[in-house]
Structure formats: structure tokens, C-alpha cells
């Protein structure tokens, strides 16, 4: 089992742009309060009710493996609430977090049926990082602002671009959180290569260093095209995420954090 990182704070590893957006939100008290209210109404009432009625809750009694890993991940990342966790029918790879006061995780059955322990540590680590960082609150605030301003293009369009940029950066923070939870760069890379389209079996066989080496855009036109498409992309390109995570890992920041927070 990966080791516990006592006292770890998301601020220590978050992407700077993600961190800046979070700090700005906290400064605007009215938005912060309104978001809490919306979160209570939307997630805790509507969303949780739907999950209870149409999904199956994972408990220590019915899936001890997954529940134990979730508890471990919360311990490793020093997150004090073990969220409720529900299984949903989906081919997706991301575990969807929801709720701030009463957090919930939705896990695709594909992940439950196919991911080994190490990959689950990474994937649950990503989701718990998003809960711990409070990024869901920012997500609700941004969505609400965009809906409120949707009829005024010159306000909503730049906002959408800013929102997409922040979303991409928050994915990078989540990837770093996942790596800290599984404490295995190979596992993190397998997940991201799987996310990029490789089958799980292929992703486990490929060397991530070779994969990064092969990912190059050496055509100017393609580079411009990519930059333009990136503007509105909310999740980030999977191959960029692989590269970003590797650069962060290789910079020594990961080792520093492990040294600083190992109990």
C-alpha cells in the first residue's frame, strides 16, 4: 500500500493557474456563499437522491477491495471524509466527484471491472484531490455565472475561455494528486495512455518514455490548429497531460513532497 502523506495540502502540488483561480473565488464572499447554497440544493438534494434511487452504493460489505482502497486514498491524501461511492454503468475512465459537504463519487463499472489496485489508487486519488481542493465549488460558480450571462456574448464568451483554461489546469492538479495517491509513475502513465485511447493491455506494455518521445508536433500549421482547439477544450489533451505530469515528476517536486509529508 502507498504511504500516508500526513498534512498534505493541495496548495503544495496544485498547478499555479488552478491555485490562482481558487484563491480568487475564496476572496469573493458572495459568490462563495451562493455556491454553497447551490451546491446544497443541486448536489445534496437532487443528485444524491438520483444516485440513491438508480445506482448501487459500494460498501465495505459488498466490495471490500474498492472500499478499502478508497479509505486508503483518503488517508494517504489526508482527506478526513470518506465519500459515499456509487457504481454506474459507463465506459468512461474518470471517477466523477460531486458534493462538497456530503461528497459523492461515481465510479464507472468499466473501471471497477478492469482496473487493478494500483490504477484504482491513482483514479480515486484524482477524484479525492478534486474534492479536497474545492474545485467543485469553483466549477459550480463558473457554470452559474455562464448561465447567468449566456445572453450577453461579449461577457460569456471570454468567460468560457477562462473557464476552459482553468478546467484544463485543474485536471493537471488532479493528475498530480492521483500520482501522490498511487505513488507509482508507471501506473499514472498507464491511466493517461488508456485515457488517450490505448487499450489497457497495450498501455501496460508500452514504455511511457517512448510514448512521450513519439508525441511531437513539428508542423507549424498543426501547432496553430492545436492552440486554437485548445482554447475551448475543458479536459486537456491526454497526451499533453502525460507530458505535463512527467515534467512535474522529473522536476523533483514529487520527490520533495514525498520527503516532506511521509509520516
Amino acid at each position: 500500500m502507498p504511504e500516508q502523506l500526513t498534512g498534505l495540502q493541495v496548495e503544495k502540488f496544485a498547478h499555479p493557474d488552478d491555485l490562482a483561480a481558487m484563491r480568487s473565488l475564496k476572496k469573493i464572499k458572495a459568490v462563495d456563499k451562493a455556491t454553497s447554497y447551490l451546491e446544497d440544493l443541486g448536489d445534496n438534494l437532487y443528485f444524491r437522491m438520483s444516485m440513491l434511487g438508480k445506482c448501487v452504493r459500494i460498501m465495505p460489505e459488498n466490495d471490500p477491495r474498492v472500499y478499502q482502497i478508497l479509505q486508503d486514498v483518503c488517508n494517504i491524501l489526508d482527506y478526513d471524509t470518506v465519500p459515499e461511492i456509487y457504481s454506474i454503468r459507463s465506459y468512461a475512465l474518470d471517477i466523477q466527484p460531486s458534493g462538497v459537504k456530503k461528497p459523492i463519487l461515481l465510479v464507472p463499472d468499466f473501471v471497477l471491472n478492469n482496473y487493478d489496485d494500483s490504477l484504482l489508487y491513482f483514479n480515486l486519488g484524482r477524484a479525492v484531490t478534486r474534492l479536497k481542493s474545492g474545485s467543485l465549488k469553483l466549477y459550480i460558480a463558473a457554470q452559474t455565472l455562464m448561465i447567468a450571462t449566456s445572453s450577453v456574448d461579449w461577457i460569456s464568451e471570454p468567460m468560457k475561455l477562462g473557464f476552459a483554461n482553468w478546467m484544463r489546469k485543474s485536471e493537471l492538479t488532479a493528475d498530480r494528486g492521483g500520482l501522490l495517491a498511487c505513488q507509482n509513475i508507471q501506473t499514472a502513465m498507464v491511466y493517461l495512455m488508456n485515457k488517450a485511447g490505448a487499450t489497457l493491455a497495450d498501455a501496460k506494455k508500452v514504455s511511457y518514455l517512448d510514448y512521450i518521445e513519439a508525441y511531437k508536433i513539428d508542423n507549424q500549421l498543426a501547432a496553430v490548429g492545436k492552440s486554437l482547439q485548445t482554447l475551448t477544450n475543458c479536459t486537456g489533451w491526454a497526451n499533453d497531460r502525460i507530458k505535463e505530469l512527467f515534467v512535474w515528476y522529473a522536476s523533483g517536486r514529487y520527490d520533495d513532497l514525498m520527503e516532506e509529508f511521509l509520516a
Binding site: 438534494l45 437532487y46 444524491r48 437522491m49 438520483s50 440513491l52 434511487g53 438508480k54 445506482c55 448501487v56 452504493r57 459500494i58 460498501m59 460489505e61 459488498n62 466490495d63 471490500p64 477491495r65 474498492v66 457504481s87 454506474i88 454503468r89 465506459y91 463499472d109 471497477l112 471491472n113
Partner: protein, 274 residues
């Protein structure tokens, strides 16, 4: 001799149809000639369109292609004393579904992912439910629903909404009938409950719950859902009112209560008398 363990029983849907489902069907049948008129219109309109769509975009599962499935359908039909066997179409899809439609010529569309995932026991169980659905006239619900969708906005204010809510309630309650049909065909509560939850839980979770055990973790979850009060209860009621799909929690509790109420035993005993 039966190959799929239906013990030569004879089932009659009227004996176990859920009251809301039965009441709705009876209300339509109470108007003389209405069912025949609906069937005629369905046969000469929407069913022709769907027949073309199904045969041109999906794979029809013929007897030659899968004798096993046809054998199961024949035995299920025999159990209900009918010779109506639906056409089966396979649709490439990752979702799990098996949908019955058609009044004059019933047909079933099932997803490739579902067919790949089920074992023979579950396949047999769910196919018996399709025959039960035909016997319970569930194709009629779909057709009336289609007519209402088509006439939306043409009816006086309020009538539209009232009919919409009523048809949705009927659609939600029909699954209670087919869940009971699965239980009666298989005589296996755990399997029948698994058919309800299948697709909404991982294999490990389904194996780990112990769905036939009293007070299992899913039973607790479903009770928690059903007994919501205050704002949560209100939201649940509103969500339910405007949905055609029944909550799996409600289906599980409904089947659980029916199984342990003694009604199940009475119907099963009656089915074995013949």
C-alpha cells in the same frame, strides 16, 4: 421436456400483474373495439416504420443464428400458453437494454453489450419477461405514448400534462409486472433481483451484496431512498412523476415485498396445478 427449467408450469399474467399496470390496461380494454383499432393503426403506421428501421440498421437474430435464444423464447411462450414470439434485433451499444415494442407484431431490441454480458440463466429469465410483457399488452403502452407525443400541444391545456403523467406512471409500473414474471419463471429471488441491478453495479458488487439475504446493503440503500422525507422526499416525488423509468431501488423493494408477502407463493402454486 423443458430445457430451461420452467418445470412445465403455466403462467397467466393476469394473476400477478401489478395493480397499476392492470388498471391501466383494463381502462383501455373497457372501451369496446378500442384495442383492435389501436392495433390496426399501429400495424399500418409506426410499426411499419420501425420494422424498416430495425431491419435496415440492426441485426435480426434468426433461429439459424441462435437456436438457443429461439428455444428459450419458444419455451417461455409455451409457459404462457401463447404462440406469439417476438422478432429479436441486436443493436451495437455499450449500454445494457432490452426493450419490447410493437402491438400487432411485437419485437424486442437488445443491446450487444447486454447479450455479451449475460449468462444463459439471466438470458432465459429476461426473455420470459418479454413474453410476459406481450401478454400484459405492454406494446399498447408504448403506442399510446407515441400517440401522445405526436399530439403534444394539440390537446387543451392541462389534458396534455395529465395524460403524460398517467402514461409515465403506467410505464413505470409495467416493470413491476415483468420483474414478477422473472421471479416466477426462475423461482430464484437472487437472480430476479440481479436482473434489476444488472448494469448498475460491477460484477464484484453484485456478487458481494447477497441480494436474497435479509437486510443486505442494497436493501438498506433502497429503504433509505424510499423513506426520504422533507425537501429530499419532495424532490424524489417530482423526479418520479416526470420519468418513464422506474428507480431500481423501488423495483427491488417492490419485488422484495411481493416475494415475502405470500402472493408469490400463491401464484407459483397455482401455476404448477395444471
Amino acid at each position: 421436456m423443458s430445457k430451461y427449467n420452467c418445470n412445465n408450469k403455466r403462467l397467466n399474467v393476469a394473476e400477478f400483474q401489478h395493480p397499476v399496470d392492470r388498471k391501466a390496461v383494463n381502462a383501455v380494454l373497457a372501451v369496446p373495439g378500442f384495442e383492435e383499432m389501436l392495433k390496426y393503426v399501429s400495424d399500418h403506421s409506426i410499426e411499419r416504420v420501425y420494422s424498416f428501421f430495425n431491419s435496415s440498421s440492426m441485426l435480426k437474430i434468426s433461429n439459424e443464428m441462435s437456436p438457443k435464444i429461439h428455444q428459450m423464447l419458444e419455451e417461455a411462450a409455451q409457459m404462457y400458453g401463447t404462440d406469439v414470439i417476438p422478432d429479436l434485433y441486436l443493436q451495437r451499444n455499450y449500454e445494457y437494454f432490452i426493450d419490447l415494442d410493437g402491438m400487432a407484431k411485437p419485437y424486442v431490441v437488445l443491446s450487444s453489450a447486454w447479450l455479451e454480458a449475460v449468462d444463459d440463466q439471466m438470458l432465459w429469465a429476461v426473455l420470459t419477461a418479454q413474453i410476459a410483457g406481450i401478454q400484459a399488452k405492454h406494446g399498447m403502452i408504448e403506442f399510446i405514448g407515441n400517440i401522445l407525443d405526436f399530439t403534444k400541444g394539440m390537446l387543451p391545456f392541462g389534458v396534455d400534462a395529465a395524460l403524460d403523467v398517467a402514461i409515465k406512471e403506467w410505464k413505470r409500473s409495467r416493470v413491476y409486472t415483468t420483474d414478477r414474471a422473472i421471479l416466477l419463471a426462475t423461482e430464484n429471488f437472487e437472480l430476479a433481483a440481479k436482473c434489476i441491478l444488472f448494469g448498475d453495479a460491477s460484477n464484484a458488487v453484485l456478487e458481494g451484496i447477497g441480494l436474497d439475504k435479509p437486510d443486505n446493503t442494497y436493501y438498506q440503500q433502497a429503504q433509505e431512498f424510499i423513506h426520504r422525507s422533507g425537501a429530499e422526499g419532495m424532490i424524489q416525488k417530482v423526479q418520479t412523476l416526470f420519468s418513464s423509468n422506474q428507480w431500481i431501488a423501488s423495483r427491488y423493494i417492490e419485488l422484495y415485498n411481493w416475494y415475502f408477502s405470500g402472493e408469490y407463493d400463491d401464484v407459483l402454486e397455482g401455476s404448477l396445478d395444471v
